[in-house]
């Protein structure tokens, strides 16, 4: 029956059962999707297929800022195989915008485009090539408008307003309507403290626009349902946030939009915002047919937000014995045409701009601009990355000016448990900043001139340029650099951040089995592995089934902000504890009379049995559960946070802090300006490693992403046109395995008493300090100031 095939497209996720006799928390259990992914058998969202489906195509603006004077769809509609062509006028509901925090993003352009690549029209056709060709036949008359491309053009007296008539919750306090949000933080008295400074250093730093460069482009499949609603299968980072934004513009109640996570090929923040979700639903509801949309790499560069490029102005002072006296900074983030996560990025950049240091007197300001550049939002590190690049450069400058060792100088000023942040928040769990630095510094250095290790001939693979054979050692200078960073974990500033987990415990084929059902987006971080480990530890079972993530269960929050193991992991733990309590209660009712320990002892579930804390077995769990299933769905919240005061920036804004340090060893071909990163050693406190293999993988991945932005990654936007010049993997380069150095990882486990199992979110911190460590090493090798990332050969050769 047609309706049956409609509800089950090929390539959507199914239950994943993991059977491990061991494999509780702390074990390096292998991921259930690992083999499938490396053998190419895993179904990603782009692999989904539905009988009778159509292909959707987005037509995007070819200019950055313009009025749309006319759209002519007649030729496109007339093409055989085309089922629908939609523009703004076809939007079905009163609500026509969406957005994470500010609903300023049009589903389709309404008479005006504000950035290069903005969606203007949609096509559904029976073949993807037909859809592409039909989209190309849509004629749009643009009347170009003046551009806002940087702080000066955004705040000029006659600056065009990117969004006129703003009434969002930040519009009342920003000094200019082209500023999305502004967050100052004032603490102490900088003017007084400055007088104590024996040395003062200033710096102006530029951070380039980085792309998340996830490998699986945006894609999904929308299937219209009989009840007038829609089933959407999509790769995203937060199902429920998508749902909140999708339903209103479709004019549907939320319960009629049912979402299921499909295979996600990486995210790194780039899937926090809506991409093709609404477009596919609109086309499916219009045509009555399933509609699949898959971006290609080119479109993907326009299909998601990027890391904010930033200008950072810093001043630090220090006494001659090496104590930092004060810090002043201004951080200007370019948010591009729409708000996305810019307000939260501003909050992070400002509150973490001081770095992991004790500085009592600060004057901080962070703003995000509206401009006609590509929209920017969430990316791994979220505002803290840009700040870390700048303050770590400042630390090296201060140390150099004082004639001190850069690591010792940092250690002298390092924060620790009990330090007060510029926001007034007390760091109330371990903050082993000095220890992390000590560990990376103490590591033996990789041998010099490794390219000669094999014999007389230089092994070019070990040299800058690699197999491109640009040097056999000529011009090559080694440099070593250090950096350390601080990142927050979880959603901050008073956000009601919670995760939901449903756990069902029952006997199947004589075995107790736990089913864990959450809406957590598995984007590659390994949550599906960790959830099974938690269930095993808490419920003493070997078999755990992970239900596909969907909106039939409560929100799991976003897979971002290093929060999922803490939050949804915490929710699974929490729910498992409730299930365990019910199981024990059931056991007491059934078997309590057989043994007094049922009433008196601390009872545990271990190895499929109910045991006392003394190890005595009271019953098989299977017997306890016989004929009954325990099913619980509970929400889990971290401790509440507060908004930052809009004038002083004071407030207990963050949940938890996380720290990592890096030592970079680079070899630079100083004549050609080519860099080989030889080693990136790192040390990080993770509180408690639930799965060490995953922990090390996350740290190495984050480190590599930081390396990428240090030496090659940048979306280049032409300042004259605000158009993206390199939207391809031919010209947006990310590190290959030959660019990836040895990454020794030193993991500390200092428990945070406030967190589940004492764990500390860990996914982002390595992305912070990796970049400035590489920059510091290149500076050490070349003696150049290098205030911009990425470092290009031109910067190193003065060409």
């Amino acid at each position: 029956m047609a309706q049956n095939t409609r509800t089950t497209p090929a390539g959507t996720p199914t239950n994943v059962t993991q059977n491990h006799t061991k494999g509780g928390i702390g074990e390096s259990t292998l991921r259930p999707d690992g083999t499938l992914k490396v053998t190419g058998e895993f179904a990603y969202s782009s692999d989904m297929w539905h009988e009778d489906m159509l292909w959707g195509q987005t037509l995007r603006s070819t200019v950055a800022h313009a009025l749309i004077e006319n759209i002519d769809i007649s030729e496109a509609v007339a093409m055989p195989g085309v089922y629908a062509v939609l523009t703004y006028d076809d939007l079905p509901a009163k609500m026509k915008n969406y957005g994470l925090e500010i609903q300023d993003t049009p589903v389709l352009a309404n008479g005006r485009v504000r950035h290069h690549g903005e969606p203007v029209a949609l096509v559904a056709a029976d073949h993807p090539e037909t859809a592409r060709r039909a989209a190309a036949k849509i004629k749009i008359d643009y009347k170009e408008l003046p551009l806002v491309t940087d702080e000066a053009s955004a705040l000029a007296p006659d600056a065009p307003l990117i969004h006129e008539g703003r009434d969002d919750h930040h519009s009342g306090h920003v000094p200019h309507p082209n500023i999305v949000h502004r967050q100052p933080i004032i603490r102490g008295n900088v003017a007084e403290a400055r007088k104590r400074a024996d040395v003062i250093v200033e710096g102006e730093y530029t951070f380039g626009m980085q792309d998340q460069a996830f490998l699986g482009p945006e894609s999904g499949l929308a299937v219209p349902a009989e009840d007038g609603g829609v089933d959407l299968y999509v790769a995203t980072q937060w199902l429920h946030s998508d749902l909140q934004q999708i339903a209103p513009v479709l004019g549907l109640p939320p319960e009629k939009v049912r979402m299921t996570l499909s295979g996600v090929g990486g995210a790194f923040g780039g899937r926090e915002d809506i991409s093709m979700q609404i477009h596919a639903c609109l086309l499916a509801l219009r045509t009555g047919k399933p509609v699949k949309i898959v971006y290609n790499r080119f479109e993907s560069f326009f299909g998601h937000v990027h890391r904010h490029p930033a200008k950072l102005y810093y001043e630090h002072g220090a006494t001659k014995d090496g104590k930092i006296t004060h810090m002043k900074c201004k951080i200007v983030l370019d948010g591009g045409a729409y708000a996305s996560a810019s307000p939260a990025v501003v909050g992070n950049a400002s509150s973490l701009s001081v770095g992991p240091y004790v500085i009592d007197d600060v004057d901080i300001e962070a703003i995000a601009l509206y401009s006609n550049n590509p929209p920017c939002g969430a990316m791994r590190g979220f505002g803290a990355v840009q700040a870390c690049f700048a303050y770590e450069a400042q630390m090296d400058k201060l140390a150099a000016k004082l004639g001190m060792d850069p690591v010792e100088f940092r250690q002298l000023n390092a924060m620790e448990q009990g330090t007060i942040m510029p926001t007034g928040q007390v760091v109330d769990s371990p903050a082993p900043v000095a220890e992390l630095l000590r560990r990376v510094k103490a590591r033996p250095l990789p041998p010099e001139q490794q390219w000669l290790a094999a014999g007389e001939e230089a092994d070019v693979r070990a040299l800058p340029g690699g197999l491109s054979n640009t040097t056999h050692g000529e011009g090559v200078v080694r440099g070593i650099g250090y950096a350390v960073g601080i990142k927050n974990v979880g959603f901050s500033e008073g956000f009601d951040d919670y995760s939901t987990a449903r756990v069902r415990l029952e006997v199947i084929n004589g075995e107790p089995v736990a089913m864990v059902h959450t809406a957590m987006a598995e984007v590659g971080q390994g949550g599906v592995t960790v959830h099974a480990q938690i269930a095993r530890t808490e419920l003493g079972v070997t078999q755990v089934t992970i239900h596909p993530a969907d909106t039939q269960v409560g929100s799991a929050g976003s897979t971002s902000a290093s929060r999922q193991t803490y939050m949804t992991g915490g929710a699974v733990k929490n729910t498992c504890e409730a299930v365990r309590a019910k199981a024990l209660e059931l056991g007491r009712r059934k078997f309590g009379s057989y043994h007094p320990a049922w009433a008196t002892a601390e009872l545990l579930l271990e190895g499929g049995k109910v045991v006392t804390d003394g190890g005595e077995v009271l019953a098989d769990l299977a017997d306890v559960l016989e004929g009954e299933a325990i099913d619980e769905e509970l929400e889990f919240r971290h401790r509440p946070t507060q908004a930052f005061d809009l004038v002083t920036g004071q407030g207990n804004g963050h949940v938890q802090y996380t720290f990592a340090a890096h030592r970079a060893v680079v070899e630079v071909d100083t004549e050609l300006g080519l860099v080989k990163v030889v080693e990136l050693a790192t040390a990080q406190d993770v509180g408690k490693a639930l799965n060490m293999l995953s922990v090390v993988g996350q740290i190495q991945g984050g480190t590599t992403q930081g390396l990428g932005v240090a030496v090659m990654e940048e979306i280049i936007v032409d300042p004259k046109t605000a158009k993206v010049r390199n939207p391809s993997f031919t010209d947006y380069l990310i590190p290959t395995i030959l660019d990836t150095p040895t990454i020794p990882v030193d993991v500390l486990e200092l428990a945070d008493p406030n967190a589940p199992y004492g764990l500390r979110g860990l996914g982002e911190a390595p992305t912070l300090s990796s970049t400035p460590a590489v920059l510091a090493a290149i500076r050490a090798a070349t003696g150049l100031e290098l205030n911009k990332t990425p470092v290009r050969p031109e910067h190193l050769t003065g060409t």
Binding site: T470, D731, L738, P793, T799
Partner: protein, 298 residues
């Protein structure tokens, strides 16, 4: 789009004669990218994959007759001794998967200034053998092959049959600058071959002018300097001033542009550095190969 699949070379020439707009395709590593991105939509694709001789090579007395479809991997594995410059360049082509498909014919047919094979073909002094049904075979010297940005000397009815590359009679080198250590399009590239038999040096520059070019003034200067100093016979170390002048002239041969991959100034600079380095490497190798004991040798 029609897909023509000739079973023989003769059929291929006939098809090309009948459909001069047909785009030949072998490994497809360039043509398919262009088609997938809709940068070109040819009326006809002329698939050369059934013509097995195009993927073969013959090592002759003086030169290698290289089929245009011989994949780069095969060049790296089998022709390192005969064609060291091209083998080095082959190493830098994209990724292993692409090197298993792509061949020199694609670089020549596309004639992009960034093609990795060009500098070594120029420095070796290769000849491109082309054929048409109407006029038969002709040999195009590589110096006359590149006509403009992505334009070559082929007539519309001609196909590339083989490339004749003189076997190395001396050391050869190839260097390429990219902004990552693998799988990167050239920002610029430099090939250099010493030809002791003729006592000449030939060069090739990639990605630093509208077409691949030779640094002719640099070659002439160096040829004269080597001759004058008796370097070919006495095997002396090349003086820094000669190397520097050679590098300067190589830079001067460039006519580069600013683009997302690099600035014109950087390209000029980098070509100079590569010219100096590849000269030193080849010359040291020449001295070493000749087993000379020389004053001042390290």
């Amino acid at each position: 789009m029609d897909f023509l699949r000739p079973a023989s070379w003769e059929e291929a020439l006939a098809a090309k004669a009948e459909h001069p707009t047909a785009v030949p395709i072998a490994g497809g590593t360039d043509v398919m990218v262009e088609i997938n991105f809709d940068h070109r939509r040819p009326e006809y694709l002329l698939d050369l994959n059934r013509i097995s001789e195009l993927a073969q090579w013959e090592v002759g007395q003086d030169s290698v007759r290289l089929g245009p479809s011989v994949p780069y991997t095969k060049i790296m594995e089998n022709l390192r001794t005969e064609l060291p410059g091209l083998a080095l360049a082959s190493h830098t082509v994209a990724s292993p998967q692409i090197r298993n498909r792509g061949g020199v014919g694609g670089n020549l047919g596309c004639a992009s200034p960034a093609g990795d094979a060009h500098p070594s073909l120029l420095s070796s002094g290769a000849d491109v053998e082309v054929e048409s049904q109407a006029r038969g075979v002709r040999l195009i010297p590589i110096d006359e092959f590149y006509k403009g940005v992505k334009r070559n000397a082929l007539e519309a009815d001609e196909l590339i049959k083989a490339v004749h590359i003189p076997k190395a009679d001396g050391p050869q080198q190839f260097s390429k600058v990219g902004t990552r250590n693998a799988m990167v399009i050239a920002v610029c590239a430099f090939g250099l071959a010493l030809h002791p038999e003729t006592r000449t040096v030939r060069t090739g520059i990639g990605s630093a002018a509208p077409t691949p070019i030779r640094a002719k003034a640099a070659e002439e200067f160096l040829n004269a300097a080597l001759e004058e100093g008796g370097f070919w016979d006495n095997g002396k170390i090349i003086t820094p001033s000669i190397a520097k002048q050679f590098a300067t002239l190589a830079s001067g041969a460039c006519n580069p542009i600013d683009d997302v991959r690099g600035t014109a100034n950087y390209r000029r600079h980098a070509v100079g550095v590569m010219a100096r380095r590849t000269l030193m490497w080849t010359w040291e190798s020449y001295r070493g190969d000749n087993g000379r004991t020389l004053e001042g040798a390290a």
